[in-house]
């Protein structure tokens, strides 16, 4: 990381890191949860099998999101990406449960 010799620079850098961390840890978890839920409903197998498969994959999805958040070129891209995923997955999940119901 490039060293910022002045105090304002250091504080800006730390806020930047905090923003990425919140996006990755909390935002990433929410997106992962939605993705897992959607996968569980979409996978073409018995409900129980789909639920388990989606759960097994969840940690790989979460890790992938975290790595992506920290390598993205700007914090704006991060929020756009996470927000977009949240919207698509959230609406998709809502509609799926509305039409299909749960066991």
């Amino acid at each position: 990381m490039a060293a910022h010799p002045n105090r304002a620079g250091i504080r800006r850098h730390r806020l930047h890191v905090l923003a990425r961390a919140i996006a990755a840890i909390i935002g990433g978890y929410v997106v992962t949860a939605l993705a897992v839920a959607c996968l569980a409903r979409l996978l073409p197998m018995r409900a129980a099998e789909a639920s388990i498969t989606a759960t097994l994959a969840s940690f790989a999805i979460y890790a992938g999101i975290i790595v992506t958040v920290f390598s993205a070129r700007s914090i704006l891209r991060v929020w756009v990406g996470l927000g977009g995923a949240l919207l698509v997955l959230g609406v998709g999940l809502y509609l799926s449960i509305l039409t299909g119901g749960r066991l």
Binding site: M1, A2, H16, T32, A33, L34, V36, A37, C38, L39, A40, R41, M45, R46, A47, A48, E49, A50, S51, I52, T53, A54, T55, L56, S58, F59, A60, Y62, A63, I66, V67, F70, S71, R73, L93, I97, R102, L103
Partner: protein
């Protein structure tokens, strides 16, 4: 961030590693020890010499339970095995009408029996089981919080592994690179080598660890398809509804033919545990479950028999590829299926992981020290990291050695003996932390490591003075447990002592590097 992908991964790796490094170190130490938890428990109960046949021991245990707990809701019996010579029983007491089930203290509803159904008279200890539980339940806190904490640590570890792989661009070129005496570079080499050599193990153990507690961390897959988790569990693990007692007494059939039949139907596999519901009643059922040790994919196949007649009522085997995959993942993590050779491989890989995390923690301080504006007076954050490093790397091993020592030293008849053994582990660990905070940094390393080395060296000595089984008698009588345990203690003592000597000889090196400016060179 304006840096390259690799650089950002290096930054991510450093911080995810540090944030939970101390907890991960503790998880590695206790997880590694847990692979031999049965052996540790046997060492800590040296009075147990006899082995027992699982079938006759189970029949004897049933006799014990029939005498002592005829009215219980259910009995659970874990027969003896190659690694555990005693029979563990516990029971669910009869529910009193109108009262919620009371939380019983440990020991009120369980017993440890020998092969003839008599309670064993051994010193009270929780043995290796405590180390295994600490690995994911920690201690002195509600298990739900502990498991969340441990899960976050595991997730940080997973990200650390992935970012570590991405950032280690010379993974093949530096594969065999281990240079001693070069300060920061040596620590990086040690970290890289231990990390790469068992990389498949770390990836597997971290991911499968998360999967083992996935119902707590990621319930969303189940919740998306099921309005209630009960529906899900009923579908995946179908069980029989609890049948109330009929009030008609009926004795149980002998268990031996049932165990033999179950074992045969599983290709000769051993029995994991036996469960009797409504014992002594005409509605009694006996459920025999396969042992987890018998195959990588074994997880809970069971057969249900009618108690009074022995008729086979039902058989359960988890179905489906996803469930089988999950079972295999959990089995890979716990290693319950592993024979001796593979168990030692698991253990050595765990030791590698412990060194990997520890060397990473030390590397962090060595690198930062070189960049400090005034190396003689670091800021408090840096000093905190250094002290926590000492407390983790020297303190926890010292605590474990103390746990073994105290097992031999506490009076057999002492009340709450088992609790005080465990408390001793944490008291010594805390003691090392306080010592490390009070002493100058370099002296603290040397003294703490020497202390841990001394405690481990003391274990075989105190053992020989306190009980009649030790390494020498073990070599003569083929008592391999005591040979292996004592040798492990001696090896750990040597390793920690070697580390203490190395720490004593460290002189702060002048930092060499093509990008450093002259004014940042620190004098010795």
């Amino acid at each position: 961030m304006k840096e390259s992908f690799r650089q950002s991964m290096a930054w991510l790796h450093t911080w995810t590693g540090l944030m939970f490094g101390w907890l991960l170190f503790a998880m590695f130490v206790t997880g590694t020890a847990a692979y031999f938890q049965q052996e540790i428990s046997r060492w800590m109960r040296p009075e147990l010499v006899a082995t027992a046949d699982p079938v006759s021991a189970t029949q004897a245990a049933l006799g014990y339970l029939q005498t002592r707990q005829p009215d219980a809701e259910s009995w659970f019996i874990t027969p003896p095995s190659a690694r555990n010579p005693v029979t563990e029983v516990f029971w669910q007491p009869k529910k009193v009408e109108g009262q919620p089930p009371t939380r019983r203290k440990r020991g009120e509803t369980s017993a440890t029996l020998d092969g003839h159904g008599h309670p064993v008279t051994v010193r009270e200890t929780r043995g290796g089981y405590v180390l295994y539980r600490f690995h994911f339940d920690l201690h002195y806190m509600p298990v739900l919080w502990a498991r969340y904490l441990v899960g976050v640590a595991a997730m940080f570890m997973l990200v650390a592994i992935v970012s570590g792989i991405i950032t280690h661009k010379k993974i093949f070129a530096d594969f065999f690179m281990l240079r001693f005496g070069k300060g920061q570079r040596s620590w990086l080499d040690a970290h890289n080598v231990t990390a790469v050599f068992a990389l498949p193990f770390y990836l597997m153990i971290t991911y499968t660890g998360l999967v083992t507690l996935a119902t707590q961390y990621m319930p969303w897959g189940v919740m998306a398809n099921y309005a209630s988790t009960d529906t899900f569990f009923e579908e995946v693990f179908p069980g029989r509804a609890d049948v109330p007692r009929s009030g008609v007494a009926a004795p149980l059939v002998p268990i031996s033919p049932l165990m033999a039949m179950a074992s045969r139907s599983w290709g000769g596999a051993a029995i994991g545990f036996v469960q009797v519901a409504n014992p002594g009643d005409s509605t009694a059922t006996i459920t025999i479950t396969r042992a987890a040790e018998t195959a990588i994919g074994a997880r809970g196949e069971s057969m249900v028999f009618a108690g009074p007649s022995g008729t086979l009522l039902d058989r359960h085997a988890p179905e489906g590829g996803a469930l089988a995959t999950q079972s295999v993942m959990v089995a890979l993590h716990t290693g319950r299926y592993a024979g001796w050779g593979l168990r030692w491989l698991y253990f050595l890989s765990g030791i590698g992981g412990t060194i990997m995390v520890g060397s990473g923690l030390v590397l962090w301080t060595v690198k930062r020290r070189a960049k400090l504006p005034d190396p003689a007076h670091p800021h408090i954050g840096f000093r905190l990291v250094e002290r926590l490093n000492i407390a983790a790397i020297a303190g926890l091993p010292a605590g474990v050695a103390a746990y073994f020592l105290v097992n031999r030293l506490l009076p057999i008849a002492m009340g709450n003996r088992a609790e005080w053994e465990i408390n001793s582990l944490f008291l010594i660990w805390a003691g090392v932390l306080f010592w490390a905070c009070a002493r100058p940094q370099r002296r603290a390393w040397v003294e703490s490591l020497s202390f841990a080395a001394t405690l481990f060296a003391a274990v075989p000595i105190v053992n020989a003075l306190a009980v009649s089984r030790n390494m020498l008698t073990g070599l003569m009588t083929g008592d391999w447990l005591f040979v292996a345990f004592d040798m492990a203690m001696v090896t750990l003592s040597f390793a920690l002592g070697w580390a203490a000597r190395k720490a004593a000889r460290v002189t702060p090196k002048a930092v060499r590097g093509t990008r450093r400016k002259n004014k940042e060179l620190t004098a010795a």
